[in-house]
């Protein structure tokens, strides 16, 4: 057990614990805040795994943007502040399937890797990742930009019902 292992264990425990709270808490807003803890712990895992750029992008986009969007949605759907009782379906099947998937995958990965060790590679800095993105992965990158644009336009059209409906002539 090296220092990196201890860090990985601690951050992994935080991530899994916060994830468990996200899917079990009865407070909608707290679920969003636990999600922040979980995502930040995963960003810490990325840092220990030498994926610097991915870690900072995770903090920027997930913790900064996605969680804020989710909290906006909680607010706009007039979620109650306190605990709400009707958040869950009664479900042993969910526990069965989710636990089966998680523990099954964990058992598979433990069996594959045992207690082996690996030397950490060179850090994934912005320079290296940029070279890789614009060297080997240009086409997926461009396709992804089109996808992002399409998603934005779709979200705007969905959230504004008056667009396109009555007047074909109006330049809306």
């Amino acid at each position: 057990m090296t220092g990196a292992d201890v860090l990985l264990l601690a951050l992994g425990a935080v991530a899994a614990g916060a994830g468990l709270l996200v899917v079990t808490t009865r407070h909608l807003v707290r679920a969003g805040l636990y999600l922040v803890v979980c995502l930040a712990a995963v960003a810490g895992l990325y840092l220990v795994l030498t994926a610097e750029l991915v870690a900072w992008v995770q903090v920027l986009i997930y913790v900064g943007a996605v969680v804020v969007l989710l909290l906006f949605a909680v607010m706009l759907t007039r979620a109650p502040i306190g605990a709400s009782e009707d958040l869950d379906r009664p479900g042993w099947p969910a526990a069965l399937v989710g636990g089966g998937a998680g523990l099954g995958l964990a058992a598979l990965l433990v069996d594959a890797f045992r207690w082996s060790t690996v030397e950490l590679p060179e850090a994934g800095t912005a320079e290296r990742l940029g070279t890789s993105v614009f060297g080997s992965w240009v086409l997926p990158f461009e396709v992804l930009s089109v996808l992002l644009l399409a998603a934005l336009v779709g979200a705007i059209v969905l959230s504004r019902p008056e667009i396109g409906a009555p007047a074909e002539g109006e330049g809306q």
Partner: protein, 126 residues
């Protein structure tokens, strides 16, 4: 020097928690949060695999993780637009009350669908 089994098992547990949340939760916003958990588990697998496996193209796992993050951002944007539209139509975001049949609901109490609302919804659905 690290033991790759630790982040791998963390990712597997996060994925299981996400599956559990998607199946268990009724609230559409909580459902989206569970989907984010699953996407994060996949990202963690990608980054760990990039660290532990010597690939022909170094850092490609991290590039894939970046791509998945972008796709997750797009997904959550469209998802929230749909959730807000659903809330506007039905005043509720419980996913098990959404009718999955093709016909728009009629005679169902409490749903105020303005005629101007129905047209763009239909257009988008097609």
């Amino acid at each position: 020097m690290i033991r790759p089994v630790i982040p791998y098992v963390t990712a597997a547990l996060l994925f299981g928690l996400g599956v559990y949340g998607v199946l268990r939760r009724r609230n559409a916003v909580l459902l989206l949060m569970s989907v984010e958990l699953m996407l994060n588990a996949v990202n963690l697998i990608l980054v760990t695999a990039d660290t532990t496996v010597r690939a022909v193209l170094p850092q490609s796992g991290q590039v894939f993780a970046l791509f998945v993050i972008v796709i997750a951002a797009a997904e959550v944007g469209v998802g929230l637009a749909i959730v807000l539209h659903l809330y506007r139509l039905r005043s509720s975001v419980a996913v098990d009350e959404v009718p999955l049949g093709g016909e728009p609901v009629e005679g169902d109490g409490g749903i105020a669908v303005r005629p101007t609302d129905a047209a763009p919804g239909e257009r988008v659905a097609r």
